[in-house]
Symmetry: C2
């Protein structure tokens, strides 16, 4: 290695002739103050006396930011703000944002981020590196490869033997990668010829699958008509026999079945498609089996729960979202394929301004495999979090989320009619109604249209009331003709105790009776 | 607004019954230490006595991390690391990563991030919010709308009158959005029917366009055969007459021309396609005009340079990458369309578990427009940076980069033969050779194959030598049969002085003569 002799010595920032911007010291001082403010916020994140949200309308927020000296809009001729004003902007943002790290933020499939995940993400922001080439991102390239290798081991021996993968911006894009690779395998000419003039490819997902399959089918030029929603059982899991029927029907129409998008942990019900059975159908019809494990894939971390994904060793590609149950900050998403070289052969552009073979260690470059160019070092925060928690810590995290869900289910069942399960709990999803007295017990099959309409109004009203008081945030939705129900999901609930959930349910019951006496 | 009465009071983290993970105080303490380390690093970023990179092979890095107590690989049964070890990991990462904020990191189209951009990004990590719904992301939703509106004003009156847009993960994806929307307009049935059985759509880009158009054409099912590379003039700008010829040829083959992917600031040469002329061809043939302004779009900030994008008011969609010349941390990318409602109608899934109409302020939700589900609040860091620098600061930044490029060009021209321009400079791209004495002056047209081969080896060797000594990082590539040349790009070079560049060129010359005496 050659010695570094500076081209010019001294601090460029402190010398004349340069643009007057913030020098290193001033930048560092500002960042330190910003960090203090963020760390203070972190220190209070378990504080249940804080509201989850200080609900405000767009107009109210506009006033609040203007009063803080940093109007939301960017005007033409906008002046440079002082450092105190910028810090005020950060403060106002934290104050008026939803506290997703609050123990009672139970609204989405993401929640409180792990401290090591935050620190890792902060570093990637400062390092500001694109993980396209080893030369620009030596550490991040190796870290990404290490994390992908560990995830492959987690998925089982068939994955560890041969895998390929990438960190990608979200589970939806990961699912799109699966569809795109599947097409490249079944119809390799499509890369040059395009889909027009080619076979009519047909994909299959469950009726409970995530909407990203639909969006991907449109983006990829497959078309929503060629994305078949296969019926599910009562738990929300795809029925293999129905898949077989759907495939035969597609064949009879002259279609070419090529892709099954399975789901491990569906969004609403937390259902797991039976991968072993689906793999049999796929083998029979030469279809690619992708598994959307964005939500449920974290079960692989747990000896107790990984059986939910039996058959994962048979799937061809897999989407994982560590920013969900593994507690990483958004975004941290993974696409894995069980075939080496396919990402490269499908996506390579061989851009010779970037992936020059006459560069040092160019064989390590990851960038030519992607459909992006710029790509964040999202693997790094997961690497650091894995180091921080260890395998046991991650498993404990996972098991705790399920235990909390099981506790709520038990309380619903024991509630004597005030609460009622919509379906038995699956994974960390608890779907239930709070019922006004007049509707107890609720029988959806026997309910009148008026009763269905009445119940459909309960969850939105109750949720709004809890949002307004900042108590908690819990999602709701209708499903399959059933009126709006609550979906309590435990994505990152390690700070929650069983008794906090008991208190939450008591509050819901009290507010419900207040709203619907 | 209702009062918030806590469901349970006191700190959940400090009470029994919860999972033993880091409580708020411990998390905050760790983050504070991590922030200190990162701020120290920031404080030294202008220090030219630091090498740009401490070049190491994958094997050397593996040893270094093991010696730091944090091996790169994640083993099965990995233990939880102590806080000091995690901090050591952060330190080792900074030490062995490329210092992209170093004034002499001139390798890529991104470089040193603005401090306000870093602070903004850090906040979004802590807030950990998905900008899909107003209810989960009230501030970030309004901020995204405000920044998009300001960018529309920047693009001109026709944009301010009607625009739609999103922050997306990278310029490549932004270009894909353009292609996807264009198809939705010209062949609306494709969303359901798919591309198979539909018209053979044909897209056009310049021969100098970014590879993302190619990748998008494959992903979208268009096929690379239906992406026509239109010839360019010597500067690298698309020739409108050649576009017309290519369109006619596509029509003659039975194709349906639908999309022109223009480039404002090409990757290697910094060329700008003539938008006014291209728009005429597009109007004539009813094609969508998208402009990839990922690199050059920043010229809109400058009164002096925005003329480079004359005609931007005529394009249908636009990709911008504030993480390039605006100095935002990766990623910060924008897609803008000059038609309201099209993103929604093209991408909507109306997922009723997320975009419930019976929710507060659901009309503000951005998530149903995207092809993602999870999406980072990348608009926020740009908003904060805009507040920090003001319009004038952003313009100064932009102008300074061009001035530095112009300075290098002048030095090359005045070098008396040691350096030679490949093409006249365009924008902030300076493409030049350093020539061994035997090859001066270099005439590519008259050069022998041996001379071309010999010159092709110069830039890689010289770059490697500079990388090894940590002097500077500068990209190189071949182009159109011309042997490898250096591409000096000024993406975020506000800490560089003219004399630093003079010193850099002297160093290159000295090292060149050492390597090729």
């Amino acid at each position: 290695m050659h010695e570094h002799t500076p081209i010019a010595d001294g601090k460029a920032a402190n010398r004349s002739g340069r643009l007057a911007d913030w020098d290193g010291d001033k930048a560092a001082a500002f960042l330190k103050q910003a960090a203090n403010l963020l760390c203070e916020h972190m220190a209070s994140r378990n504080d249940l006396t804080q509201p989850v949200v200080r609900l405000a309308s767009p107009a109210e927020l506009a006033v609040a930011f203007t009063e803080a000296g940093v109007p939301l809009e960017l005007r033409v001729g906008e002046d440079a703000a002082s450092m105190p004003r910028l810090l005020a902007a950060l403060g106002a943002t934290l104050e008026h944002s939803v506290r997703t790290a609050h123990p009672l933020f139970l609204n989405q499939l993401y929640a409180r981020p792990e401290p090591a995940g935050i620190a890792g993400d902060w570093l990637t922001v400062v390092a500001n590196t694109n993980v396209h080439t080893y030369e620009a991102a030596p550490v991040f390239t190796l870290v990404e490869r290490a994390v992908l290798a560990r995830l492959a081991v987690l998925a089982g021996p068939s994955w560890a033997a041969a895998h390929d993968g990438l960190f990608v911006p979200g589970g939806s894009i990961a699912n799109m990668y699966g569809m795109h690779l599947a097409r490249a395998v079944v119809d390799p000419d499509s890369a040059s010829r395009g889909a027009a003039g080619g076979p009519c490819l047909v994909a299959f997902t469950s009726a409970q699958a995530h909407y990203s399959y639909l969006k991907s089918a449109r983006v990829c030029g497959l078309g929503s008509d060629n994305l078949v929603a296969v019926p599910c059982d009562a738990s929300g899991a795809m029925l293999p026999a129905e898949l077989e029927v759907a495939v035969e029907a597609a064949l009879a129409r002259g279609g070419v079945p090529f892709f099954v998008g399975a789901t491990a942990g569906s969004t609403v019900l937390g259902a797991f498609d039976p991968l072993v059975e689906l793999a049999k159908v796929c083998r029979r019809h030469n279809m690619w089996l992708h598994c959307d494990g964005a939500w449920g894939g974290a079960c692989l971390l747990s000896a107790m729960h990984r059986g939910l994904m039996d058959g994962v060793e048979l799937v061809d590609s897999l989407a994982l979202n560590p920013h969900k149950m593994m507690g990483l900050p958004l975004q941290c998403s993974v696409f894995l394929a069980r075939r080496e070289g396919l990402l490269q052969s499908t996506n390579s552009s061989n851009a010779d301004y970037l992936f020059q073979p006459d560069k040092l260690h160019a064989d390590m470059d990851l960038g030519d495999k992607t459909i992006q160019c710029g790509r964040r070092a999202d693997a790094y925060k997961l690497w650091l979090t894995w180091k921080a928690l260890g395998d046991a810590g991650l498993e404990q995290r996972m098991d705790r989320n399920i235990a909390l869900a099981a506790h709520v289910e038990a309380r619903v069942v024991a509630s004597g009619g005030a609460f009622q399960m919509v379906r038995p709990r699956s994974f960390a999803n608890v779907c239930f109604w709070w019922l006004p007295r007049a509707l107890r017990p609720f029988d959806a099959a026997a309910a009148s249209p008026e009763q269905l309409t009445a119940l459909g109004k309960v969850a939105p009203a109750l949720k709004m009331r809890m949002q307004q008081s900042g108590d908690a945030m819990i999602g709701f939705q209708p499903l399959d003709g059933l009126p709006n129900f609550f979906r309590l999901v435990f994505a990152s609930a390690s700070a929650l105790r069983f008794e906090d959930l008991d208190a939450l349910m008591s509050r819901m019951d009290a507010l419900g009776l207040e709203l619907f006496p």
